[in-house]
Symmetry: C5
Subunit: 356 residues, 5 copies
Amino acid sequence: MALNRSYKSPSRSAGLAPGELVHIGERHSDFTEITIFDFDAEKCKEEKIASPDDCAPFRDVATVTWIDVAGVHDVAVVEKLCAGFGLHPLVIEDILNTSQRPKVEDYGDYLYIVLKLFEFDEVTAELEAEQVSIILGQGFVISFEERKGAVLEPVRDRIRRGKGRVRRQGPDYLAYTLVDAIVDSYLVRLEELEEDMDLLEDSITKGDGSDVIGPLHSLKQALIEMRKSVWPLRDSVGTIERSGGLLFKEGTRIYLRDLYDHTNMVIDTIETFRDTLSVLMDIHLTSMSIRTNEVMKILTIIATIFIPLTFLAGVYGMNFKYLPELEWRHGYATFWGICFMVAGVMVYFFRKRRWL
Amino acid sequence: MALNRSYKSPSRSAGLAPGELVHIGERHSDFTEITIFDFDAEKCKEEKIASPDDCAPFRDVATVTWIDVAGVHDVAVVEKLCAGFGLHPLVIEDILNTSQRPKVEDYGDYLYIVLKLFEFDEVTAELEAEQVSIILGQGFVISFEERKGAVLEPVRDRIRRGKGRVRRQGPDYLAYTLVDAIVDSYLVRLEELEEDMDLLEDSITKGDGSDVIGPLHSLKQALIEMRKSVWPLRDSVGTIERSGGLLFKEGTRIYLRDLYDHTNMVIDTIETFRDTLSVLMDIHLTSMSIRTNEVMKILTIIATIFIPLTFLAGVYGMNFKYLPELEWRHGYATFWGICFMVAGVMVYFFRKRRWL
Amino acid sequence: MALNRSYKSPSRSAGLAPGELVHIGERHSDFTEITIFDFDAEKCKEEKIASPDDCAPFRDVATVTWIDVAGVHDVAVVEKLCAGFGLHPLVIEDILNTSQRPKVEDYGDYLYIVLKLFEFDEVTAELEAEQVSIILGQGFVISFEERKGAVLEPVRDRIRRGKGRVRRQGPDYLAYTLVDAIVDSYLVRLEELEEDMDLLEDSITKGDGSDVIGPLHSLKQALIEMRKSVWPLRDSVGTIERSGGLLFKEGTRIYLRDLYDHTNMVIDTIETFRDTLSVLMDIHLTSMSIRTNEVMKILTIIATIFIPLTFLAGVYGMNFKYLPELEWRHGYATFWGICFMVAGVMVYFFRKRRWL
Amino acid sequence: MALNRSYKSPSRSAGLAPGELVHIGERHSDFTEITIFDFDAEKCKEEKIASPDDCAPFRDVATVTWIDVAGVHDVAVVEKLCAGFGLHPLVIEDILNTSQRPKVEDYGDYLYIVLKLFEFDEVTAELEAEQVSIILGQGFVISFEERKGAVLEPVRDRIRRGKGRVRRQGPDYLAYTLVDAIVDSYLVRLEELEEDMDLLEDSITKGDGSDVIGPLHSLKQALIEMRKSVWPLRDSVGTIERSGGLLFKEGTRIYLRDLYDHTNMVIDTIETFRDTLSVLMDIHLTSMSIRTNEVMKILTIIATIFIPLTFLAGVYGMNFKYLPELEWRHGYATFWGICFMVAGVMVYFFRKRRWL
Amino acid sequence: MALNRSYKSPSRSAGLAPGELVHIGERHSDFTEITIFDFDAEKCKEEKIASPDDCAPFRDVATVTWIDVAGVHDVAVVEKLCAGFGLHPLVIEDILNTSQRPKVEDYGDYLYIVLKLFEFDEVTAELEAEQVSIILGQGFVISFEERKGAVLEPVRDRIRRGKGRVRRQGPDYLAYTLVDAIVDSYLVRLEELEEDMDLLEDSITKGDGSDVIGPLHSLKQALIEMRKSVWPLRDSVGTIERSGGLLFKEGTRIYLRDLYDHTNMVIDTIETFRDTLSVLMDIHLTSMSIRTNEVMKILTIIATIFIPLTFLAGVYGMNFKYLPELEWRHGYATFWGICFMVAGVMVYFFRKRRWL
């Protein structure tokens, strides 16, 4: 499971004026789908809308409104939608540029949260990093995914079926729920990575040894990438939890602490996996070198035993006119005797020095 | 002594609503056992109760009440018990989910402490991490272990027999005593690990060399795991000691400082062990490579001495019609003379260059 | 793409009195070109001036004035220009000494910003670090480049064509825009480095293996150099954003936060590249050693099979008078039989031990 | 000079109630010796006392009293003495448990200082860590050593002979002097370690190479152990110097700053030694591998030159009926000619490729 | 250019009472030379004085007085001089003990600055660390060098010739100028080290390879030593710049900021050099191992080709009575044919596997 390297895009915006709007990143979806959830504890309305203008009526209602946008490549749609809710141009720029660093920014009457989501792409068999932007305002939440993904589905479900607390709480709890769902999905991804690690561990201890370096390093890169996404997120969550944006009510604050713990757990797990990976690497390298050493050692020993014997055979193959041993009655037997003796002494010596 | 990897479970809660209650983790015990200790300096009542409802009478008494729960897999029991004491749903969720990170959380009128306990499992010969949750409230302490373990037994004993200060102090001192007992148990575990390290050191210096990498790395992993448990604990203890939860009385604060020192000592010991492990690893690798080099060197030297001699023997084994040396009276003796001379020169040369 | 090492120059000022003015660094340009942009939202005047004295009329106008200087080797011109705007001698010294560390210094009524710019030199095929100094004062911005480079061209263009916000904002926004353009150019440079890394990765995985170490290390050095330029810049930007120089208006502050995010992104990318480089290095070293090991192993195996056989051939080449096997009818065939048997046993043994 | 590993003891207190008093650690002395120094600028009384009760008269005198205790294994004596001065049970526990981490604890009307002392044990040739506890109260200092050591002797001497400032200052200066004497003794120990390092360096550069790894690692461990003792001490000294315990008078504060500098110097020296040790390790490993490589290279070259020649000799030892060269008049001479030519070409080739 | 290890001395003061005065360190000069510069903007008097008592008249004059002392081994002279200006005994002790750590200490009415100076000793060809102490008081500056060095000469010159600002400013500016001159001299030393590094780089890339490890490590040690001197200096300068000793006037504060930047530049350069050194080390080790591998590989290949052929020659050298091939008319030619075929197949195989 390799990670699709995502560090190719950021520079595409170089040369643009700040705040100039273009979509930056891969296009993960062909159309933009806007779904509106408008709910309170009693009722819930779910509606797909065609144009960003259709959001207007939901803006100032007393119920909680979640505008769930999938697909951010269509600059016009995103801009219109955001402008309708009075978002700053830099926010819109960040939503469109999918190479943001996770962060939480407080714009006074709304909070802008960016995080990464990792989805396993069945086609390329790669872990793809996607960007999710969440706007938490007074009475509404807007979320932007790069495509309609499975990670937020349980949240949608809980809203539809009125399960859990989400329907009875305000938009701040909804925003928390969305972030929590994404953080939980990291743990699922880590579990998948762990399965790969277990397979690797097996093939290392079995020692077929061929294709271990590549997978090890792509796992390492994937962990580095996830770590890069969780570290800033943790800091941001910690900051809101402590100093508190005004948009998070006191009652929701306790859930942020829980979220902070979860991000800590993700980081701990990532660090543990990194440690495990480097242990695996060490074991692989050591066992590879042990094996090679063993091969070389035993083979060299065999060679060394025979080299003096071959010399001796060479000696009695010489054609000197006067070579008395050749005439001896038991010369040949003596030769074999010496051979076995030499070999025996050497083996004894090797054994004594613990080389065999 | 390997460590049963505990990083498999956390993701099982992904997709659940926050606060939804399920037991997460291995099931270490088949039934939930609730024991109540109700004591003051004069008297002590110990009672096993069957249902969480039986705790109610102990809630508002003037004496100190310790509700000692072993086994957290039964969601209904834990929930009922906690609800009876007015605990927050997130606390109940954390008690049930045994993959928590050690932490201390202040909920105003009670303090929630989570830590890890390492028990040596005789059956699997592995070090198992278990979670202990401690609730310190006004007049009561509730503790949740995954199974009835030996680590807290001395505390129970001291309460029963009125030994030490615990009977004369409030619930804050009891909570401190429980945490202290667990931190002390880390030192016992470390001592067991040290015995394994000593065995390893012996087999490394003796140089039988076969099975060293595996144990070294599993020791390293065990230390990493313990470290992960003690670091956040130390920070939490430091925080209560300094800023002080209201639940800890001034007189108990001094014991927290002592506890803080103990966690520091555990961390120091872990770090020393890690250093020692990496030194052992280095010694192992170096001595292994020294041994291989020595084998290769001496063997190559032997081979090299004989190679020119074998060539010479080959020369006088040639069948050239005109090969004058073969006719010489002392040809054969001269051959041996040359052989000894060549070998001598080479040995001298090797010795001079300090290769022998 | 190697980096022209820039650490040669700093000491040239040793022995000078502080504030004594000399140009330190390579001379990147032959003449000093001063261009003045004087604009507000409605109109924009661009003018090349011959002498620093010609700046005087622009000093106290209500419009925004950008004095864009290319070439800092001419001490007299720089000094006169700076003195005209009342800059401190230490600032002038720093402008002339192109081996400054990036920093932002608040001199009360003006702000002095130094940063590095990396340009790819087509002639030497090297990445050259140049210094850009920016003075942000009341109503004016002065920028000093070492030569007229392409990086600030888009900004000049936007001013000329009234594109973007720059014409409608004050000098603080202009200063921000200049810094932003330079930070964006880092991403472009990083993308070029990435192409080199991709080429390297190809030649490593293909394993032609000849010239990998050199390029790897020069890439590493280039990243170290860029990192050294961005880290202090990030801290400086963070400091103005938080504590805020008075010269940055509230409305521009939000753009500084964005700039801070960009520098963070550059740092993240650099760190990722460094990780990738060390992974490439590891893969290179490992695959090189795997290849060598393989060569040695198979060759040694071949040698080892033939050594006992050669001994045997030697034996039957001996000239002993009494050597019964030589007389046997099937002696020769038996010899070959033994040879194949010995070889077979060895191959079997090697295979069984997974050495083949 | 190896370090007697001191990490064996801490767990022995596990299972005890906090504050329960037992002696933990090795027994370095057979009896407890209590000496009292009672002095002011004019006079000094030195007295060996038999029972802790004899200290009572010294408690409230106007002069400075130093109770100098050697040997802490006798729980009863230590407890009685400490109780007489109103020390907290946790302090007594820490004095008895000689596996404490260095620390300074402020108990309001007295200060408790723990540090480590390293003495070179002539018998075991090992560096032994011992614990020194110092209590600084109003008008008195109590010090506990594990045995009567040489390190504090100069202080005793200066008091007896009225040398230096110690007789003219209060108990705070005495406490400072004791700590200072111990910190200075670290430098003496480091100097002894340095001599060992110099010996090692010699044997590494000479390249006898046999017993280098072991001493290197035991030096490293000794440095790690010392570092573990000085780091927390430095922090503690820094804390009293800055925030200032009330027990240290303003005039003594300046000496604490000096002490802080000394601990810094010790840490710097330890770090430098660690750097030097790792450099030595590197040099050792590199030179060892260079030597092996050289051996292998030259030997392989010799072997390779003779292998084709041996083949040739083998060819002309063949018994083919028709083998024309054998009949040649100058066949044998030609053979030798070819041999020298082949050897020459190979040597030339090796030299050209710089392998020789 | 090796560094004369300076970590030998500190312990010599162990056992002395704090504040007891002895000279510690190497004796770099045979006599103590005291020069007095007494100047203001108009006039400057330079005078060599014989006894410390002669300084008295300069103490309370309105002009700036610089007492420039070279040689600190004469305890009596230093003590008398310092006592005359009312310096604290600990300061005198630190001036005499030349193994101080760089620091800045504020004693209220004077500031004590210690730093290191690196001079290249022509005789020993080593970089020698010397200590410079600077006392900044009201109206005077006292500097102590270990010997009259070249580094402060430009400052003396500027005072004599009235060049730069130094004559028009107070003693704080003079103290700054002295420190600045020393920091600038670090850059000169670094440049000299760089030349050594360039030479090393050449001999590494050329690959003569004999004496690289030693110089690399002594360069590394020199950098470590310099780093140890600059880090604490930077922190001290930063502290005075921010919190400001009262002795530095507001106008000089800006120069301290510049000085702080310079120390940062020195640190950056040192870090870059360290990176470069480790890159050089890597390149050296890698290219050494590549070369050895290549030698071994080609030689092994040659050996391997001839081993089967030698076996074959051995076979036809056997004396079996019945060995049909020997009788063949074209046996010998066939033998050579087989030889070339075997060699060809092997070379083809090696080439295909990219081993040749």
